[in-house]
C-alpha cells in the first residue's frame, strides 16, 4: 500500500458544484451517510462527492503504480533469493492494488484509460514521495517498512469512508498489508542490527527519507467549509496532521529502538499534550517537487509513458477480439 495522505486539489474544485443540487436528494444522501450506510455506484450522489472521490481514488491508484517503481528497481539486486521472492510478491501486490483502485474509481464513471492518460500527461498527481530515488537497498527497505506504514495509517482511516466500492478495495488491500509491513520491518532490523557498514547504510537511508516522509501526509489542513463537507460525507476521514501524529506515535519509538537516529533535533513527544513536536517540514520544497521539479518526476512519468506506448500494439492486436463491444462502467 502506498497511497499518500495528501490529496492534491486544483483550486477550481470548490463548493460551487453544490449550488444546484436538489436539496431533497442531498438531504437523503446525507442522512444515509449519517446512518453509517455505504453509498453504491447507482445511488444518487452530489457532483462534488463524485468528483472528489474520483480524484482521491485515482491519485491513490497512481501512487500504487508509480510507487512500485522505486522498489521494483531493487528486485534484481535484492540480497539473496528469499528477499527477491518477497520483494517481487510485494511489488506485485502494489500493482494489483492499483488495479483494484482503478476499478473502484471506474464505477464513478471515469474510464481507466482516461485515468492513465491523466497520469502520463501530468494532469493528475500521485504521492510525492515517489519522486525521490532509491540509491541503495536500504532505501527500498525504508519504503517497504515506513512509507507503507504511513500509507496504512491513512488507508485504515479511509476504509471507514462512505463509498462502498472504495471501502471494499481498501479492505482487500489492507488484508495484504500486514505482510508488507512485517517484511519491511524485518529488512530494516536486519540492516540496523548488522555490521557497522549495514548500520551506516540504513542510517543514511533514514536521513535521506525523513523529510519526504514528513511531507507524505501533506501540509496542515486548512479548515474550510470544503473540508467540513468532505468530512461530513465521510470522504475525508482524518486530517493530515492527525495521520502524521499517529504515524510518529507508532513508528518513531520503533525506529529509535533499533539504535537509529532521526535527522530532526526538535523531534520529541510533548508528554503533557501527547503530541509530537518537530521542525516544520520545508513546504516550499514539497510544492516544488509536486509541480514537477523533483529528482525523479520525469523518469517516473517517462517509464509509464513508455509502458503505455510500447504496449499499444499488443492491446491493439488483442482488442481486435472484442471489436464492436462498447466499454461499460463496471458494476461494483
Amino acid at each position: 500500500m502506498y497511497g499518500g495522505g495528501q490529496v492534491f486539489e486544483p483550486s477550481s474544485l470548490n463548493n460551487d458544484l453544490l449550488k444546484d443540487e436538489d436539496p431533497k436528494k442531498l438531504a437523503e444522501f446525507e442522512a444515509r451517510i449519517a446512518r453509517g450506510e455505504k453509498i453504491e455506484p447507482k445511488d444518487w450522489m452530489p457532483k462534488l462527492y463524485r468528483k472528489q472521490l474520483i480524484r482521491m481514488i485515482e491519485q491513490h491508484a497512481h501512487s500504487e503504480i508509480i510507487g512500485s517503481l522505486p522498489e521494483g528497481t531493487w528486485i534484481t539486486r535484492a540480497p539473496g533469493f528469499k528477499r527477491k521472492l518477497a520483494l517481487m510478491a510485494k511489488v506485485q501486490d502494489e500493482v494489483g492494488h492499483a488495479q483494484l483502485l482503478y476499478g473502484a474509481a471506474e464505477t464513478l464513471g471515469k474510464p481507466r484509460e482516461q485515468m492513465i492518460e491523466d497520469l502520463i500527461t501530468g494532469k493528475s498527481k500521485y504521492s510525492n514521495i515517489f519522486n525521490y530515488p532509491t540509491f541503495t537497498w536500504a532505501d527500498s527497505c525504508f519504503i517497504s517498512w515506513l512509507v507503507d506504514a504511513g500509507a496504512i495509517v491513512n488507508q485504515l482511516a479511509n476504509a471507514r469512508g462512505s463509498y462502498g466500492p472504495y471501502c471494499r478495495a481498501l479492505d482487500r488491500i489492507c488484508a495484504e498489508e500486514s505482510f508488507h509491513l512485517k517484511y519491511g520491518h524485518h529488512c530494516v532490523i536486519h540492516l540496523a542490527t548488522g555490521t557497522p557498514k549495514q548500520r551506516e547504510m540504513m542510517q543514511e537511508a533514514v536521513n535521506r527519507w525523513w523529510a519526504p516522509m514528513m511531507h507524505f501526509f501533506g501540509p496542515s489542513d486548512k479548515i474550510s467549509t470544503h473540508t467540513e463537507i468532505l468530512t461530513k460525507w465521510k470522504v475525508k476521514m482524518a486530517t493530515n496532521d492527525e495521520c502524521r501524529q499517529q504515524f510518529l506515535d507508532m513508528y518513531v519509538p520503533k525506529i529509535w529502538e533499533l539504535g537509529l537516529t532521526i535527522p530532526d533535533e526538535n523531534l520529541k513527544k510533548n508528554e503533557a499534550s501527547g503530541e509530537w513536536e518537530f521542525t516544520e517540514p520545508d513546504w516550499e520544497e514539497f510544492k516544488r517537487v509536486i509541480n514537477g521539479d523533483g529528482p525523479c518526476n520525469k523518469e517516473r512519468i517517462a517509464v509509464r509513458r513508455t509502458a503505455e506506448e510500447r504496449g499499444a500494439w499488443v492491446r491493439r492486436a488483442l482488442a481486435a477480439k472484442t471489436k464492436g463491444e462498447a466499454y461499460v462502467a463496471p458494476m461494483a
Binding site: 506485485q92 495484504e176 540496523a192 533499533l258 512519468i301 513508455t306
Partner: protein, 213 residues
C-alpha cells in the same frame, strides 16, 4: 549529454527512453481500452461464489488469467473463479430503507418480456450496502424477467435483499471443479508472502540487550 534517460535503475536504462518522454504526451489516435469483466470467486468448495471486482481483458480466457492473479493470488485456498462480461449482468434497482427488492417483483414484470428457449440463470443477492453480491443459486427461465420471478419463489426470505444480479449461465467462463484444482494447490506453500514468516521480536530483544550490556 545522453539523449536517453539516465536512471539509477539498470533496467530502465536498457529501455533507452528518450529524454523528452517525461515532458510531453501526444494525443492517442483511438481509445484502446479493453472491456471489463466482473469476477466471482469461490474461496472453498463449501462456500458460495462472491463478487470480488473487475478486470479489463480482451477475451474470457485472459479475463480468467487476470482474475486469477488479482483475486486468488492471496489467501490460503481457492476452489473456483467465474468471469462474465460486465454488460451481460442484469441489475435490479437498489432499494431504499430496508425494502426487499423481491417485494417489487411480480407477474407485471413479464409484460413486454421477450421470451426464448428456457435456459439456466445464476442469481446473486446484495444483503447489505457496502458488502459484495453473493451467489445464491440458479433458476431455469425463458427470459431474465421470468428468472427474476423464479428467483423470488426460490430465494426470497424474511431478510431483505437490496439488489439482485441475474446472469445467463452460458455467458460465464467457469474455471472450477477437480480438473482445475492444481491451479491453486501451491497457495499455502508461498510462506514468503505471509506476515508470519517475518518474526523478529527475538532479534530486537537480543540487539537491545547487547546495547545495554
Amino acid at each position: 549529454m545522453s539523449e536517453f534517460l539516465n536512471s539509477l535503475d539498470p533496467r530502465i536504462n536498457r529501455l533507452s527512453i528518450p529524454v523528452e518522454f517525461g515532458s510531453t504526451f501526444p494525443e492517442k489516435d483511438q481509445k484502446d481500452q479493453f472491456i471489463t469483466f466482473e469476477v466471482f470467486v469461490q474461496p472453498k468448495v463449501s462456500k458460495a461464489y462472491q463478487h470480488e471486482g473487475i478486470v479489463h481483458a480482451p477475451t474470457d480466457e485472459m479475463a480468467f488469467l487476470f482474475a486469477k492473479e488479482q483475486f486468488s493470488r492471496r489467501g490460503m485456498s481457492c476452489s473456483g473463479i467465474w468471469v462474465v462480461r460486465t454488460q451481460e449482468i442484469q441489475v435490479s434497482p437498489i432499494t431504499e430503507d430496508g425494502d426487499n427488492i423481491y417485494a417489487y417483483i411480480n407477474e407485471e414484470i413479464m409484460e413486454g418480456a421477450t421470451t426464448s428457449e428456457s435456459t439456466k440463470y445464476q442469481v446473486f443477492h446484495l444483503m447489505k450496502r457496502g458488502k459484495q453480491h453473493v451467489h445464491v443459486g440458479e433458476v431455469e427461465a425463458s427470459s431474465p424477467e421470468q428468472a427474476l420471478l423464479h428467483a423470488k419463489n426460490s430465494f426470497a426470505s424474511e431478510k431483505p435483499v437490496f439488489n439482485l444480479w441475474i446472469v445467463k449461465d452460458s455467458l460465464f467462463m467457469k474455471i472450477e471443479g477437480e480438473d482445475f484444482q492444481d491451479i491453486w494447490n501451491t497457495l499455502p506453500d508461498k510462506k514468503y508472502r505471509d506476515a508470519m514468516d517475518y518474526r523478529a521480536t527475538e532479534k530486537i530483544k537480543k540487539f537491545k540487550a547487547e546495547q545495554n550490556a
